[in-house]
Symmetry: C2
Subunit: 218 residues, 2 copies
Amino acid sequence: MERKRADLIADAIEELILDGTFDDGDRLDEVQLAERFNVSRTPIREALQRLILSGLVEQLPRRGVFVRQPGPVELIEMFEVMAELEAVCARLAASRISDTALSELRTINERCRAATEAQDADGNYDQNDLFHATLYAQTGNAFLEQECLRLQRRLRPFRRLQLRWRGRMAQSVAEHDAILAAIEAGDGDQAGNMLRQHVTVQGEKFHRLMSSLKAAAE
Amino acid sequence: MERKRADLIADAIEELILDGTFDDGDRLDEVQLAERFNVSRTPIREALQRLILSGLVEQLPRRGVFVRQPGPVELIEMFEVMAELEAVCARLAASRISDTALSELRTINERCRAATEAQDADGNYDQNDLFHATLYAQTGNAFLEQECLRLQRRLRPFRRLQLRWRGRMAQSVAEHDAILAAIEAGDGDQAGNMLRQHVTVQGEKFHRLMSSLKAAAE
DNA sequence: GTCAAATTTTTTGTATACAAGAACGGATTT
DNA sequence: AAATCCGTTCTTGTATACAAAAAATTTGAC
């Protein structure tokens, strides 16, 4: 259960930003939001503070808060950090993972495969996130796990764009297979490198992401 | 200049926690803090929200906020993440660093050495932080840099404990030298591994940190 | 005397009222 | 006609007042 109204509102505003209701650069007016959610300015301000700290919006002193979608450069940077963090997770997990967790990962990837064959993009998306999140947990480092989940969550809407590309889902499942094989073999460095490649945005992936962004902006 | 009163208060409370005025588990009473800082509860609450998001304090719904110092396990986990992040920085910096930045790093490490020889623990501490922060900037990834600075800041009080050990300062300077040599040689993997070792808390370092913590708790 | 229930009290969460600073517009001057 | 200065208005930041929920204390019963 959520703690208080301000938290619910923060999630709601975040959703409104991510689904494009609020565009980049828009000012988030406290009084407008207050009447929109039928609350006073106080919980709105608390919610905005949460979003400011998460980096989703920007506050200019005495000016207000503005939506701040990451530009191409920052996006690439965030994906690079995600790739490196996941590489670390794979390397650590390779030596710390339990047998049950390994088979669980296999099960999840099989569900990814099934969703791919069923052309179920949403199902693939959810199982894919679960696959990565399960791996984070197997690092045996709860702090690392939380940091990864935080960034994963932040990048979520942009990863969603990527899965639309033809053949990407099948490729993703195959890469998961290879990563699992490396982990099972206990080859942490290999698993890490593969996962880094799996997440990194470069080459063709980069151009596809850019054009997806441009298309989404229209 | 700081933005508003709430930000100043957040920094002040953080300082009070880090220097031990507020101990682990203490409840941060809103009204007490309000009269302590001669403001109303509103800016206090905003400040506390910042601290909650930064993980320094914990909020229990309808109960209040409590100081939450990390325990030994979480501390080790945080240092592990820091070590891995810095390893990434070193690897990336090895291929992206500029010549001027490299010589700047050398200069900073020379200041570390001078501070060590002068038995100036505070000077060494400051230059050491600067050395690492300069390296973060040379990854060419502003997002990664910010994340590293965030975690560095969080671990700051605990790193301070470590420098008290006999011989640690000199060892640190020598390790910096080796890391710089690896970066100059363009060997990113080597530089990364060395920096990971440099930051990792394990073996003798672990026992020393634990006893320092116990001593600080008394 | 002890345990439990109810009331009181304390504290958080929300609403509203107030103050200070910034943007906007109009008027006056060059 | 353009630019600048002053005033109005709008918005943020802070204070206070109010409500609801949880904790603590007191009172009553067994």
